[in-house]
Symmetry: C2
Subunit: 229 residues, 2 copies
């Protein structure tokens, strides 16, 4: 790192992964600008979690942007006509119904806009290809393609900088992510992963996301601080 | 074209270019799904124009999505602290202050989400590299990079389709665009290009965008139907 602090834009959902990424970026000396989205997700308790997490790690700014993605429908996470499944993890491949169309493309595009205004060359996103391989927009090849596009889309490319999309978790298991977060003092009781969390952020314990998270704590060999309903 | 009508998602701003693209896509036999954005632009008379244009060409659906891009600031078109310049066309290169950070990336990402839900493999955007070469996100290399990324971002790529970003105007002059539109019966009096149009859609006649448009009609050798204030 140079002596002058570098600015980074981070996508912070309020979940376990993005909280870990925020802690990592902070430890690397970045000034953190956190971006969350109120996109019609049924589990909007995660937005309260995002507030707590960004406060805990002293983000310079935390913006929550309202995005009306449910005008397009098509996902169990935003569409009232599609139920969030109780569990789908052991399905035989295919794209889960909890996939939100083009979500990471949209979120990264917004981060890109903010990065451009801030003159930041660094965007962080907590995507993970190991546990979520069913989501096309969590794959390394997607991230690389987005980075190439981003460098042509904005002033950055024209001015000869290079904008980087950082994905520190992309090849980590959930257990490894938890271990890394604990080394950076992440308080996981503040985070919400559950697709059906109640307004107090208490997790259902049975949905895909809860199961992955619970298994992560088990495999990491640490107590699970999640608040279950 | 196959016998069954193909669906296309089109970005329709209400300006001259996107009206022409809509007419072209319609003439090619596409079922048109038009997408507009209320993104805090000062010239929101163009949204009324978008409504009239999509009605004229029988779009199957027209969505106007609210996007709070001015939370990021940084452009004369959305930021109250930056004035829309009277004219900047003959500047010595560089990126105009009317450039909105990552705008086309964001708009195309939204179109991508809708296309995915509709099972459409075709997105149309009226970018033009000739008259707007100062905007990095109007260049062919940006469009190609976005298309590559989009094919990795969504179900399309996983399912083996190919999503195409159509840019029929990219190498046309404003005069050529106008001539093409007139062949498809575009009523340009309905369109609004002016960055400072009043609520009735009347153009200032002096901003960058007005000058380009006026010159286009002159060079096309047709009467300019624009309503000036």
């Amino acid at each position: 790192m140079s002596k002058k602090k570098k600015k980074a834009v981070l996508l912070v959902s309020g979940g376990l992964d993005s909280a870990t990424v925020l802690a990592m970026a902070k430890a690397q000396g970045y000034e953190c600008y956190a971006l969350s989205f109120d996109y019609g997700q049924k589990h909007n308790a995660e937005l309260n979690a995002a507030k707590k997490i960004t406060r805990l790690f002293g983000a310079v700014q935390h913006q929550t942007m309202k995005l009306d993605l449910n005008v397009f429908g098509g996902s169990a996470l935003t569409d009232d006509d599609i139920e969030v499944p109780v569990a789908q993890t052991d399905d035989t491949g295919g794209i889960p119904v909890t996939y939100v169309p083009a979500r990471n493309t949209i979120f990264l595009s917004m981060a890109l806009a903010w990065a451009e205004v801030l003159n930041s060359d660094d965007i962080f996103i907590g995507v993970n290809a190991v546990d979520y391989s069913g989501y096309p927009d969590c794959r390394p090849e997607f991230i690389h393609a987005f980075e190439s596009m981003a460098n042509l889309a904005t002033k950055v490319g024209v001015e000869g900088h290079h904008l980087k999309i950082h994905t520190p978790l992309i090849n980590m298991s959930k257990a490894q992510i938890i271990q890394a977060g604990l080394e950076h003092a992440v308080d996981y009781s503040l985070t919400v992963s559950c697709y059906s969390a109640d307004q107090q952020g208490r997790a259902c314990g049975v949905c895909d996301s809860c199961q992955l998270r619970r298994k992560g704590f088990e495999e990491a060999g640490v107590a699970d601080p999640t608040l279950y309903s």
